[in-house]
């Protein structure tokens, strides 16, 4: 990375610098990761009631009983994961496609009403969701009458303003000259979008994909509201079903939380590639 001088000539200086950086990063990483470490560690405990939690930093035992317990809790536990996968995938794909398109339009194309429309979009981000919840619920349940369906889970977040904003901000750094030269060569906007913008925006699209997937995957309140049966619930709703008034099955809950985090890891690592590819693609071609 050329921000850092890689040809200082002095290998020791470079080595020392990196070591210090790594130590600092590691310390911070430990503080960050501790709750998750604790979560995963506890998930290997026994499925015991009544908040029996030990404060030891090291696991006292390793057992998969809590995982079994979690899956045994409901016949629908696998279905919850499947539902979450379906919903999160659809929402992710549609956001990446439509938000990128809209972000490009708002960022690079001059059209009548652009600034006003964008300001209106942005303004919506400022309304706390608690207040739109009930009107939205009325719309989905009483007007569209699609409660307890995938559509109800997916539709409200097909494209989010956050993602449009994110896409637009990123595309702001794409030099105008590239687009203009493409136009001179006779490309129309759609061709420009597919041939130039999309390849240049892989990084932001990957970021968007991860963030959206994660957001959807972890959403609790909305799926909870619009699902009425166990078989349509998502993993987060199922996870919450797990908690009881006076007793918490701590270890199985942590097992469930760990299970729910696994698809996120898979997605994250599989999209890593695009972050790195961003380096080479980012250069102005011709």
């Amino acid at each position: 990375m050329a921000l850092f001088n890689n040809h200082l000539g002095n290998r020791t200086a470079k080595y020392t610098r990196n070591t210090i950086l790594v130590i600092l990063l590691l310390l911070f990483a430990m503080a960050t990761i501790f709750p998750i470490y604790f979560m995963i560690m506890s998930s290997f405990g026994d499925p015991v009631e009544a908040g029996a939690v030990s404060y030891s930093i090291w696991p006292s035992k390793f057992s998969l009983e809590s995982y079994k317990f979690f899956f045994a809790f409901s016949e629908y536990s696998y279905r919850w994961i499947l539902n979450s996968l379906v919903v999160a995938t659809v929402v992710m794909v549609s956001n990446v496609v439509f938000a990128t398109m809209a972000g490009y339009a708002f960022s690079k194309i001059q059209f009548r009403g652009r600034n006003v429309l964008f300001a209106i979009l942005l303004a919506a981000m400022m309304i706390p969701y608690q207040v739109t919840q009930v009107p939205l619920y009325i719309l989905i349940v009483n007007i569209f009458e699609i409660q307890n369906t995938y559509s109800a889970l997916i539709m409200p977040t097909l494209v989010t303003v956050y993602n449009i904003f994110l896409a637009k901000q990123f595309m702001g750094t794409i030099p105008k000259e590239i687009l203009e030269s493409a136009k001179v060569e006779g490309c129309n906007q759609f061709q420009i979008f597919v041939k130039i913008i999309m390849p240049l925006s892989k990084t932001v699209m990957a970021v968007m994909a991860i963030l959206t997937f994660m957001e959807t995957w972890n959403t609790f309140f909305w799926p909870f509201l619009v699902t009425n049966t166990m078989d349509m619930q998502t993993i987060q709703v199922g996870l919450k079903n797990f908690r009881f008034a006076n007793t918490t099955y701590f270890a199985p809950m942590m097992a469930g939380a760990t299970i729910s985090a696994v698809p996120m890891f898979i997605l994250f690592f599989s999209l890593q590639r695009y972050f790195l590819e961003g380096v080479t693609v980012g250069a102005v071609k011709g």
Partner: protein, 299 residues
């Protein structure tokens, strides 16, 4: 000048149609699932809401808010929380993103993954763990830790003096994953040729940082700042799950207050009014941020 703009106009012919096509679906989704509920909330804010026939009561909901001590306390709490969390989180994320850059690829990946982890795990599950970290008894994790430093054990979430700090600390250590990823992505997006040119001129690390990185990351920073502040003003989950707003309203944020007004007291009209006042406040702050930071950022 005139000729240039003529060429542009000719080249840009038909762009408008394409632009509308590009934003069409976004607009439809927005109109249905965001604008409609917001407009409906706006109407409700002038009503005493009843599921069976609401009643228009003019500005009563609004005047009630401005007279309420609790609302202003909640605004103050939210401001304190925002000032303590958002800038710090941005600085931490920026520093981490920069520090990650010189590392080998596998190390970069590992660190990014680690920092991103808290965002991956469900907030509900993590809040349970955090409750245990903040266990007020001397055997609690954090109390043991500060005990080693000779500090007496604290009643973290249970005392007004430490409750806000506890929420802030939790935010510092768990909400930077997204910003780090966005910063790293933005850093990778900076054109290599800028650095090359700077190096030919013999620029130092700090000079490159100041003249290349900071200006190039400005749109990203603005984005993170604006969304961070908005998010922080609407923050609800942690206070809800960890303290319920207590003790003695020391962690009652506006987001939580709105939630309580709507779902605990059923004063839906008042809740709508509260959130529109909040939206106005956020709007003003966002506008100021755009004005001061966004001067030379192109939208």
């Amino acid at each position: 000048m005139a000729r240039a703009s003529n060429v542009k106009n000719r080249l840009n012919r038909g762009d408008g149609a394409w632009a509308y096509a590009f934003i069409a679906i976004a607009l439809v989704v927005y109109a249905l699932f965001t604008a409609y509920p917001v407009v409906s909330a706006f109407l409700v804010s002038f009503q005493e809401y009843r599921p069976l026939g609401s009643e228009y009561i003019g500005f009563d909901n609004y005047s009630g808010i401005f007279a309420s001590e609790l609302f202003w306390k909640a605004i103050m709490n939210t401001l304190v929380y925002t000032v303590l969390t958002v800038p710090v989180a941005l600085i931490i994320s920026f520093a981490v993103a920069i520090a990650i850059m010189p590392l080998k690829k596998w190390a970069q990946t590992t660190f990014k993954a680690i920092y991103y982890l808290p965002a991956v795990a469900s907030g509900v599950a993590l809040s349970v763990v955090w409750l245990w970290i903040y266990d007020p008894l001397p055997g609690g994790i954090l109390n043991q830790l500060i005990g080693m430093l000779g500090i007496p054990s604290q009643n973290w979430l249970g005392a007004s003096s430490t409750s806000m700090f506890s929420l802030v600390l939790m935010s510092w250590l768990s909400s930077h994953g997204t910003s780090i990823i966005i910063y790293v992505a933005a850093l990778l997006g900076i054109d290599e040729s800028y650095y090359e040119a700077a190096e030919i001129d013999g620029a130092t690390f700090w000079q490159k940082m100041w003249h290349i990185v900071l200006p190039c990351l400005k749109p990203t920073t603005l984005f993170l700042l604006v969304t961070g502040v908005i998010g922080s003003f609407q923050v609800f989950q942690n206070a809800y799950l960890m303290t319920g707003g207590g003790p003695d309203h020391s962690t009652t944020m506006v987001g939580l207050l709105i939630f309580d007004t709507a779902f605990k007291y059923f004063e839906f009209g008042k809740a709508a009014a509260q959130s529109l006042v909040l939206a106005a406040i956020i709007g003003v702050i966002a506008f100021i941020q755009f004005k001061f930071l966004g001067k030379d950022v192109e939208y």
